[in-house]
């Protein structure tokens, strides 16, 4: 089976779904089911133990076959993310933690320095750390060195729908990485998800594009199909791109056959 391997966990689906921004929990759960995703991320700040109607964790944990990956969205420092990870593990029982550290709540760009520090500590504590990062090949290797389960470079800014704007850097990360590379954030359309998978990403994470679609469950399904198609294309081996046409009369014919 062509499975996604994260720590000791294997997943047949390579689509990871985010759970924020939906108009209600029912639509979100329908989208989760339609996506076939087996790994789902949910923000610790949306866990609400005091009010079931406002809680995202409860209804998600009731679905069989899902692995939940809490995230630390809202944390602005390593210390906060580490505190959040401990609380999230206690509440969810999941070994996964998606480390998201945005020092500035306006543009939601991840802080590489704080992220590295949190990832290092949490990996040493046995978490399966999934750090959300800018597409920086050196940072990706640093995170692999400290024991992260994957790296999650952003395709483009969260919620921007600009697709894989950082393709050149993500290609370097994929080429150099010994751990799964998962494009997270910025995807707008299934074709962009397929593109990321064709590039060799191990999985993609999508949230806004599904949550704010006209019909979220249908869009979730479309993403699932695109991710599967992209993966298949990657495994089949894409035809090499060429920058110019191949001349029918070879330019080097004058050299004659090599003898």
């Amino acid at each position: 089976m062509d499975a996604l391997q994260l720590g000791s966990y294997t997943f047949s689906s390579r689509l990871i779904l985010g759970t924020g921004k939906f108009s209600n929990a029912t639509v979100m759960l329908e989208a989760v089911r339609a996506s076939g995703a087996q790994l789902i991320t949910v923000a610790l700040r949306r866990f609400n133990r005091e009010q079931a109607e406002d809680d995202l964790f409860g209804p998600l944990s009731a679905i069989e076959g899902l692995t939940l990956m809490p995230n630390t969205s809202g944390a602005s420092t390593a210390a906060e993310a580490i505190r959040a990870a401990h609380i999230a593990r206690e509440l969810s029982g999941s070994p996964f933690i998606k480390v998201e550290i945005h020092p500035n709540p306006q543009h939601l760009m991840p802080d590489p320095i704080e992220t590295f520090e949190a990832a290092r500590v949490l990996a040493s504590e046995g978490f399966l750390v999934m750090p959300y990062i800018t597409a920086d090949p050196v940072l990706a290797k640093r995170l692999e060195d400290v024991g992260c389960a994957s790296v999650m470079p952003l395709g483009s800014a969260i919620g921007s729908g600009q697709g894989v704007a950082n393709a050149a850097m993500i290609e370097i990360i994929i080429r150099e990485s010994g751990i799964p590379v998962i494009v997270d954030a910025g995807l707008r359309s299934p074709s962009e998800a397929a593109h990321a998978m064709e590039m060799g990403c191990s999985a993609v994470l999508v949230n806004s594009a599904v949550a704010v679609a006209g019909n979220p469950p249908e869009m979730a399904e479309a993403f699932a199909e695109a991710v599967a198609a992209g993966r298949k294309a990657f495994r089949a081996g894409l035809m090499q791109k060429s920058g110019s046409a191949i001349a029918t009369s070879p330019l080097t014919a004058f050299l004659g056959a090599k003898g």
């Binding site: 921004k21 108009s23 209600n24 610790l44 700040r45 866990f47 009010q51 406002d54």
Partner: protein, 366 residues
Amino acid sequence: MREIPDWLTDNRETMALAAMLTPPYASDSLEALAAESRAITLRRFGRTMTLYAPLYLSNYCSSGCVYCGFASDRKTLRHRLEADEIVRELTAMKKLGISDILLLTGERTAAADFDYLRKSVEIAAQEMQRVSVEAFPMSVNEYRALADCGCTGITIYQETYNRERYEALHRWGPKKDYIDRLETPARALEGGIKNVGLGVLFGLSDPVEDALALYRHLRYLGRTWWRAGMSLSFPRMRPQTGGYEPPFPVDDHLLARMIFAFRIALPDTELVLSTRESAAYRDGMAGLGITRMSIESRTTVGGYDNPENKEEGQFEIFDDRTAKEFCTALRKKNIEPVFKNWEPAYNGPSDGNKATMHHGETEPCH
């Protein structure tokens, strides 16, 4: 007298915003702004609305704001909530689902001073997920002490950026100092407060001039304090207890134009609308640009534990629906009301604009 800083009058950054706000307006321009504002809001914030509620701790005040029902020369009955009353109010608020609150006081007085405020924040942070404060201007050290106790946000409105109008409207008390007021949000950020809420009180002065100055203030803070979270509110003058008639009234259309223009100019900034606005206006605005709304507001001191309280509030509430009714209205618009959108693990002071990685030492009070 200290001079107005250059950043407040530099119009290079506000040209795009000014173009959206300055009359004459093309006949279909409001609809076009609404459509763009809605698309940006949807993309960035999704189909959700974060909810909070205000809790008035005290209505003692030492300032003489012409337009305010709590000004120190008003005959309003004065009192403050004691610790046990605060706990009762918070318990009543939690029963309504509220987990994100804004604590309010008047200008600093002996009856409601910094120590009183700090203790109140400490109590609130034990009960609520997120605590913000709208009170009086403080020193950097005082802000640091509040952040240490779990306060993550400070709301401080300039009211109007027109200095002459400002000085005429604020007749006495510490609030009379225009420049000190202007510098307050920066002190809060310096003290480790993570979010500052800015705003003008529309109706006091030329609204477009005020809106442009508000934008410049926000941008100045954002450049100087790179970690700063910021939100903008759009309060407009309603008939106050003191019977003040706003000289520059802002009608529904202009307020809508303001909200759309700010959303387009600031795609990532939280925009807030309170219960000063009517139910119909708030429902209409949900999804078009506003991302944070107050619910179940009382503008009297306390009022959650004893809803029969008939004393006069600071201003009149126009949307007096219950949280439940309001959430039903949001859901009808395909928007999810979110009560908890924060995590106390993220409380504690920010390092301001200093990029260091040594944060772990300071634990929040609770």
